[in-house]
Point group: C2
Chain length 515, copies 2
């Protein structure tokens, strides 16, 4: 238990400080404070001593140096359980400080506002973190409030303990304080890393603010929460318009669905339906509703309970079609008012509007005590990148379908095979340990449900065919053109098999593994 | 260009400082320094002023307050392009400081040594980060070296520019400095989070040190690097004994292989072969070599080019078997000398010895501008957790196989079905958008290669059967007992189907999705 006698207050965000001042006044706590905060406190009608008066040293350099003084930090850092510490501060006429209420220059706000370089630098707080860290280190004696979100708990502590705080509370606040300072410097460090275009720094810091605790994780026996990274860079952001809370798996599927439909040629209207983190249907069309209906038709059984993403606005007609099937989540960059009304009839359906932006950042895979940081796979294959390796050339229509199938294939777990026709997936072979297995899966589905369409269809493979066997399965099923990276030692055998069957094949020289 | 006249040096790690002192001496730079560093510099034969002499304020509180003084921070923070700043420091007899060489108390070292609480707290540096941050903010005028790793570059700068540094260098060092302070506080914050058992903090910081840049990422057109998290908690750590550098995908597969074999009952010898992040074979046995041979037999075609992990020592006999197949990586907790010799004949084969520890931490999935943090899936299903829901009870042997299949199934991408017999996988259906699809995959493989064994086999499903159709595929193929979480609205229909076929089925009440 530690009685609060002397408080130091220095605030950038003055929210709710009056509530604290009332409590401090009630327990006759002396207050010292810096320039702007000092004036604010006095204006609110409370007594307060200015820091420069206490230290005998003026605020200088436009406020850059105010609190960096031994009379402040001696008061924060003295271990009052040690006689020589107590003697030392007494000798130098230093008062122990029991309570520190400090928050920092709004670097985060300036970052989100895309402020200029000079303004960003000026908003790097120096004195604030120093006080926070001194007080947190000496939590045995000092109570520290690094954010207004802790004020209510502090007031309860003070009232419960008649003007004192418990060691548990002070220790907890010390922990919260180091989270604040680590987070603050992570923003500065990442901002500077971007300026230096340093994508693989010596020390990489990933920091996030708790957005919400989720009902559970990937499975009901796992707890989970979602965190938001504070950044001025574009990324996946959405507004939830209606429906139940998003689950852990909803977030994951929604992100993957969004990534897929925004990775396809933006001139076309693209729709993808995702189930268990893999697409079960994807399509392009000039017409919104047709685009959706084609994606659904790809695999209506798997689509049940899936996640639908489009890269275009949802109108009334499309919404009326969508509500005929049970989905977990629907995402679009825009949903018009009439469509919103139609969705509102399905109370549980989660409907999200997202910001339409390019996602060309890095990706991170965390594995226990280490993580892999890599460039996102931003490969886009265009007509001019294709190298025909067979005697037969693909037709213009086939080329369009090859490019479509190839882009979808990027978003299917490896090994991946995608069969497509009329800008619509007919069969998707996902997540197999052998390429032959994925070829079998894709052809089986396409042959069963699209026995006519498969005969003029194309196929994409995320990596090369190590042997002709996988390709031969595709040929046997009726596929007429194939897109793949190439690069196998047996490329010639694979090309020979294609020539023998008189189909065309193009190489992209770009592998698209996704694990 | 900025001429260095006054330097401030305060070091915990004094590595290589003599090199710097020689250069500073050459360009007649004045040095001020703190207690221990001051003595070190003087002992090396260089001139130096003690900080307490300069500030007129003694070091106090066992060194907790040394540099937190306006004569230091005024000298670090003055913007010399502004007349009123220059005037202000002149009025207060403050010298501008042009160079700061500071590194911090070894909190990281103490963390790794699992030091006691008091010692950890005492090793939180306060003055150091304050100086680093002041100098970094004012990089326009101040050169800052936060670590010996930058000394060589600094010496080159000084020699190239005749005692001065460039703005580019100072800006780069400011960035490196904020990376250091962010990283430092991330360690403190995460250590304190663990003490408070706060697994979902308001602000979550994930920080890593660059271990190495990798040849490329998941695909050759993506750059990649691996980072190590500094922590005193157990986790996946290994020593590479031989072979090529690990690739991005090797790391990922190795981690998953390790996770699988260490998630199975430790009394048995477990072996798993992983391909494209999914197991293609897994087995348990009392004999090391048999365990491996069974895992290989599960799917020798997919095993080619895969990653093998075992949870036991590799001896000569086993190594001789392993080198008969081409693998990318082999992992074991221990590899004996004779086995090492055998592996050494395959120069490219990556052989890793890992620390045998439980992995019961949290898992993180980063999605662009947000991340999901959740408990790892540490579910272990034991005999006593099983609830038989059919008329028929599984036999003791079936129960053992059900538990084995269920644990393997946890590590297969959803939807997942694993068929097993004799503690060996016969068929694995992975990554399908429908459960029926996974049932078909698993039964197809098992029926083709294990037509006899499948008739007395068991199957595990990672989630419930929404309809009886998936189960009926398993029954038709000959499976005699099934393990699944249960929980479908149609559970009774599924149970009826099992009863009708006179097979047994048990519920675990634990879903094991893996996406």
């Amino acid at each position: 238990m530690k009685k609060i006698k002397n408080a130091l207050i220095s605030l950038s965000d003055k929210t709710d400080i009056e509530k604290i001042l009332n409590v401090l006044n009630q327990y006759s706590v002396n207050i010292i404070s810096t320039g702007g905060t000092y004036k604010h406190i006095v204006n609110l009608g409370f007594q307060c001593e200015e820091i420069s008066n206490y230290t005998g040293f003026p605020e200088m350099l436009d406020g850059r140096v105010k609190t960096l003084h031994p009379k402040i930090h001696g008061g924060l850092l003295a271990d009052l359980d040690k006689n020589h510490h107590t003697k030392s501060i007494t000798d130098h006429n230093i008062q122990p400080i029991d309570l520190v209420i400090v928050n920092l220059y709004p670097f985060e706000k300036k970052l989100l506002e895309n402020s200029g370089f000079e303004e960003m630098i000026e908003n790097i707080d120096i004195g604030g973190p120093s006080m926070l860290r001194s007080a947190a280190k000496n939590f045995k004696h000092v109570t520290i409030l690094p954010s207004p979100k802790f004020y209510q708990k502090f007031i309860e502590e003070m009232n419960q303990n008649k003007g004192a705080t418990t060691i548990e509370f002070r220790k907890k606040m010390a922990y919260e304080t180091f989270s604040e300072t680590a987070f603050y410097d992570s923003l500065i460090s990442n901002w500077m890393a971007d300026l230096h275009e340093d994508r693989f720094p010596h020390k990489k810091i990933i920091s996030g603010k708790l957005k919400e605790k989720l009902r559970y994780g990937e499975n009901p026996h796992q707890q989970s929460a979602i965190y938001e990274v504070v950044t001025n860079k574009p990324g996946f952001k959405f507004r939830q318009l209606q429906g139940k809370e998003l689950s852990h798996n909803n977030y994951l599927d929604a992100f993957n669905a969004y990534s897929l439909v925004n990775d396809i040629d933006k001139k076309s209207k693209t729709c993808a339906i995702i189930k268990h983190n893999n697409p079960c249907g994807c399509s392009e069309d000039q017409d919104e509703t047709k685009s959706y209906l084609k994606a659904l038709k790809s695999d209506p059984i798997s689509a049940f309970g899936g996640i639908v993403a489009v890269n275009y606005s949802i109108n009334e007609k499309l919404a009326s079609e969508m509500v005929k099937t049970f989905y977990e989540v629907i995402l679009a960059p825009k949903i018009d008012d009439k469509a919103k009304q139609i969705f509102s009839s399905k109370k549980n359906l989660r409907v999200l509007e997202y910001d339409f932006i390019t996602n060309n950042d890095s990706s991170i895979t965390v594995m226990n005590n280490s993580f892999l940081l890599q460039d996102s796979n931003c490969s886009v294959t265009k007509k001019e990148d294709l190298k025909t390796v067979t005697k037969k050339q693909p037709t213009e229509d086939e080329i369009n379908n090859l490019i479509f199938a190839n882009q979808v294939c990027k978003h299917v777990k490896s090994n991946a095979i995608v069969i497509a026709n009329h800008q619509m997936t007919l069969g998707i072979g996902a997540g197999q340990t052998s390429r032959v297995g994925s070829c079998e899966l894709a052809t089986k589905h396409a042959s069963k449900y699209f026995s006519k369409e498969i005969l003029t269809s194309v196929a994409a493979s995320d990596a090369f065919f190590p042997f002709p066997d996988g390709l031969e399965i595709l040929i046997k099923a009726g596929i007429k053109s194939v897109i793949q990276p190439g690069g196998s030692v047996k490329d010639q055998e694979v090309i020979d098999a294609a020539n023998k069957a008189n189909i065309s094949m193009v190489f992209t020289n770009l592998r698209n593994f996704k694990h």
